[in-house]
Structures are given as structure tokens and as C-alpha cells.
């Protein structure tokens, strides 16, 4: 057998199990449902905005551990951020997955996804909640 599989380190499993933000908002400013047709991952993301910033976030995520961990991380960290901050973090995660770019200092938790760099088919799983949040934010912006 080859070396240990660091993709499934405890940080990922614990973040996925915590399921921060899992649930539904009573009153959402925007929402989006995104699928990953390759593997069947599904994210239903809702946001409530106040003053252009995320006041509340909720998601229902059916997916793999990477997808669940990413959604849970957003549930834990997204409140208080605006659409440009989420866009910046999404870009940082993309670069981290694609080319092992440095972990942004304000999002040290993204380091847990570094091992996924070696598995391109899993990048979309990891990014799906971030893309869903961006889509929900765009919808919220369009509705304002």
C-alpha cells in the first residue's frame, strides 16, 4: 500500500461533521442551487444581506466530505463578509487547488483543502459551496 491518504485528515472530517450553517433561512435575500453532475453533489445556499454584507447564511448540502467541509466552513466564516470578499476567497481557493498557491492569512482553514490539489476531479466538489454562495449573493444583489 502507498503512503497515507492525507486528503481525509481530521480537520476535513471535523469541519464536515460540524455542518456549520446547515439549515434554512426564514427570510433570504438570495439563494442558489448548484449541482455537480459528475458525482451528484448538490448545494442549496441561502443568504440574508444587511448593509451589503452577509447577515446570515444557511445551506443544505448533499455531497462528499470535501463539499460538506467547504459548505461548513462558509457557514462558520461568511457572516460579516461582502460579495467581493467571498469572490476573493473563492479565487484564493481555486488557486490553492490548482497550483498550491499560498493559503490566505485571513482564511487559514483553507489549508485543509491543500491535499485536494493532487485530485483534479475533486476541485469542483470543494468549490461547489463557494460557487453556490456567489450565485446566491448575485441573486441577492439583483433583487435589491
Amino acid at each position: 500500500m502507498s503512503e497515507s491518504l492525507d486528503l481525509y485528515q481530521d480537520a476535513i472530517k471535523q469541519m464536515a461533521a460540524a455542518a456549520h450553517g446547515h439549515g434554512q433561512l426564514q427570510s433570504a435575500s438570495g439563494e442558489a442551487k448548484l449541482n455537480n453532475p459528475l458525482c451528484g453533489d448538490r448545494v442549496y445556499m441561502q443568504v440574508a444581506l444587511a448593509g451589503g454584507r452577509i447577515a446570515a447564511i444557511a445551506h443544505q448540502t448533499k455531497g462528499c466530505l470535501l463539499c460538506k467541509a467547504a459548505a461548513s466552513l462558509l457557514g462558520a466564516r461568511a457572516v460579516g463578509l461582502d460579495i467581493s470578499a467571498i469572490a476573493g476567497t473563492t479565487s484564493a481557493l481555486e488557486a490553492l487547488l490548482r497550483e498550491q498557491a499560498p493559503v490566505p492569512p485571513d482564511w487559514p482553514e483553507l489549508a485543509m483543502f491543500l491535499p485536494a490539489h493532487a485530485y483534479p476531479s475533486r476541485h469542483k466538489c470543494t468549490l461547489l459551496p463557494f460557487r453556490a454562495l456567489q450565485a446566491a449573493l448575485r441573486q441577492a444583489g439583483a433583487a435589491q
Partner: protein
């Protein structure tokens, strides 16, 4: 050396990767050496377009292409090689029927498929329904995903023109009772299309004995190259169908005002066909026709049962598929409570196993089985006990890693 080991050595990729346990043949079977060699030989010595030239290379290419068609006809026990249409794959073959046979249907006509179909035998019919105003009926499945043949009398009507079903489920491995489908169709003079994608890697077929009107399969699931597939159609049915794609090779005559069509099969092969791929397919099918299938089937069934028995002992694992009494191909799908198949198959890959996890392009069937996704181990003639044992160990390891 065991028979499976001897066969394994004939597959270049498996020979080059001795540590690999390849259990994803339902997605793509590995290419046999003879097929690979045939492609290389054709491209090295006979590469030219077909039906278009009179130079010696073109003549040689024509002969190779015609010979490939005859090999397919023998593999399917077709009455004539003219009933064999080369396509780019099974999906293209199924879409060809939906387009060309579909063009002969009238609003109000009905097509019956089953809930167990691969998306390639589902979506084209939904598209035809939305385009042509036909009705699409769906044969339900039982709790284990097997076709509910008891529902046939209610769903087959005098407006039913076609029943299009899988010969073998790509998720559960269950073989369809084709005779029951054919009998129901014949009672109302409907045609039958069989999606043989999962069947062909388990041996030669007999379309005359099956009694169907269309049979579709792809080369990459029959130890042959990808980019090649086959639609077999009963001569009289093919002759009644208009072309699907227009272009070179499929015409009788073209004037500035109009065109007339070639006879089948060329009517349905517009443009330059996948020539070398057809030659490779023929080489694979010729090789398969010389094998001892009774022995291979016995081994596949034994390994499949070992897989089922072993997986059943893993806590939290649910097997998807038919009861033991139903004949099945060596395809074993399973769901482990709380674990996503993408993660399971990632860990299995780490242990040297290739399995597919996902919805297997059969979302309606998985929904009926109560899951969004599942993991699937599919066995072929080159697999052996070591593959099964490695899989069982690795699934147990995946559970430990992921929980």
C-alpha cells in the same frame, strides 16, 4: 497461471499496471491487445478514406471496413452485415433511433422505456417527446431496481410504437427478461430496442434469438477502442427510416434541388466513419467469439457472489440490486450509510482499486432505489479472486478512514 491471469496479460494496460485492481469495466472495459494492434496495423498500412477512392490504399481500407461490419454481424448473429450501422458509440446509436425512427412517429404515438435506463436511453426519448408530441411511458421498477414486468399490460397500448429498454442494468447488473418485453411489443405490433451496452463484454449476442428490432452497443465496453459503436437494426425497419445526419456517404444522388438516400446501412453513416476504430472493434469481437464463455460466465458469477458475500458483512453497507434468484451481470453497487461514494472511491483508488462512485448516469433508477449516488464494482473476464479480496479489504479500510 490461472485463466484470468492469462487473460489479464493480454490487456496492455493491465499488464503494465500489475498492482491495479480494475473494477470499472461497466464504465469502460480495458482494450485487448489484438484490438490495439489492429488499430495500429490499420493506420500503418491501410489508412485511407472509405467508399471514396480507387487507389490501392482506399481499396484496402474499404475491405477492412467491410470486413469489420461482417465481424459485428457474426458477433450479433445478424442476418446480414447490411443491418450493422457504425456509430460513435451506444449513445449515438440510441439517439439515431430516437431521431430516425422517431421521425416516423405521429403525435399521440407512445414510446415505452423503463425507470432503470441509463440516461442515454432516457434523455433522447424525453427530447423526442418534447419535439414530436409523442407520449413517453415509463415502466416502473421494484424495490431492488428490477423491471416491474407486471406493469407491462397497463403500459403497452395500441398506440405504443416502440419499447426501448436496457438488456442489463449498469447499476444493478440485473438482466432484463427480453422475451417478456418482446412478447408485449409484438402483441401491439410495436418495435423493441435493446440497449446492449452492458451485455457485450459478457459475450456474443444473438439478435435473432432475442427477437428485437434494434440493438445498440459501444466498442469501449467490448474491449475495443472508444469512438466506435454499433446500431443493429432489422433490415425492414431500417429501410423505413429516414436519415438522421446528412452529408457525404449517405446519399444516392444530390442535385441543387434535392437529395435521395443510400440504402442502409450507409444511409445512417454520414461523413467519414470511424474506420480504424471499426477495425479495432472487429478484432476485439473476433477474439471474444473464440473464447470459452461458459467457463468465463461461471468465473464471473463466482466472483460476483464472493463480492456480494463479502460486502454484506460490512456494517452499514447496503447492496443495491436484485435478489439472488435474478440473473445478473457481475456488477455490484452499494451504499454505505453516512459515506459519500466519491470519498469511498477516492480511498479505494489509494489502495490501488478503480471503482466508480456517483449516479452512474441513472438518476431516475437511483432515486427509485432511495439513494442519490452509490459505489459500483464491475467485474470482467480479466478479474480474479485477488481483485475481489483487495476490494473487500479496501472498502473496510475506507470505512475506517472516513469515519
Amino acid at each position: 497461471m490461472s485463466e484470468a491471469s492469462r487473460l489479464r496479460a493480454e490487456f496492455p494496460l493491465l499488464a503494465a499496471n500489475p498492482g491495479l485492481h480494475y473494477l470499472d469495466s461497466a464504465a469502460t472495459a480495458q482494450i485487448h491487445r489484438t484490438a490495439l494492434d489492429a488499430v495500429a496495423h490499420h493506420e500503418t498500412h491501410r489508412r485511407a478514406n472509405v467508399l471514396r477512392g480507387s487507389h490501392r490504399l482506399a481499396e484496402a481500407a474499404d475491405q477492412a471496413f467491410d470486413s469489420a461490419r461482417r465481424s459485428v454481424a457474426r458477433f450479433l448473429n445478424a442476418r446480414s452485415a447490411d443491418e450493422v450501422i457504425f456509430t460513435s458509440g451506444a449513445t449515438a446509436a440510441l439517439n439515431l433511433v430516437a431521431q430516425a425512427f422517431g421521425a416516423t412517429l405521429q403525435p399521440g404515438d407512445r414510446v415505452l422505456i423503463s425507470l432503470a435506463e441509463h440516461h442515454s436511453n432516457f434523455v433522447p426519448w424525453q427530447m423526442l417527446r418534447d419535439r414530436a408530441g409523442i407520449a413517453l411511458d415509463i415502466l416502473p421498477v421494484g424495490v431492488n431496481g428490477e423491471l416491474d414486468l407486471a406493469a407491462l399490460p397497463q403500459l403497452v397500448t395500441d398506440r405504443t410504437r416502440l419499447i426501448a429498454v436496457t438488456q442489463c442494468s449498469n447499476v444493478t447488473g440485473a438482466w432484463t427478461d427480453v422475451a417478456a418485453i418482446v412478447a408485449a411489443a409484438r402483441a401491439v405490433d410495436a418495435r423493441v430496442l435493446l440497449d446492449g451496452a452492458q451485455a457485450v463484454q459478457h459475450g456474443p449476442q444473438d439478435v435473432q434469438a432475442l427477437g428485437v428490432d434494434f440493438y445498440a452497443f459501444s466498442g469501449h465496453k467490448a474491449f475495443a477502442p472508444n469512438g466506435i459503436g454499433v446500431l443493429w437494426g432489422r433490415a425492414g425497419v431500417l429501410a423505413s427510416m429516414p436519415p438522421f445526419l446528412g452529408g457525404g456517404g449517405m446519399i444516392d444522388e444530390v442535385t441543387a434541388e434535392k437529395s435521395s438516400w443510400a440504402e442502409p446501412p450507409r444511409r445512417f453513416e454520414a461523413g467519414t466513419p470511424p474506420i480504424a476504430q471499426a477495425v479495432g472493434l472487429a478484432a476485439a469481437l473476433d477474439w471474444m467469439m473464440a473464447l470459452d464463455w461458459a467457463t468465463i460466465h461461471a468465473r464471473e458469477a463466482r466472483l460476483c457472489q464472493q463480492m456480494i458475500d463479502g460486502l454484506q458483512r460490512i456494517p452499514g453497507l447496503r447492496l443495491l440490486g436484485p435478489e439472488a434468484s435474478v440473473r445478473r451481470a457481475p456488477i455490484v453497487s452499494f451504499d454505505i450509510a453516512g459515506l459519500h461514494p466519491h470519498d469511498v472511491c477516492q480511498v479505494l483508488d489509494h489502495h490501488g482499486l478503480a471503482l466508480r462512485g456517483g449516479h452512474h448516469c441513472a438518476q431516475p433508477l437511483l432515486a427509485a432505489l432511495g439513494v442519490d449516488t452509490c459505489s459500483r464494482a464491475s467485474l470482467a473476464l480479466y478479474n480474479d479472486e485477488a481483485d475481489v479480496a483487495a476490494c473487500l479489504d479496501a472498502v473496510a479500510a475506507a470505512v475506517a478512514t472516513l469515519t
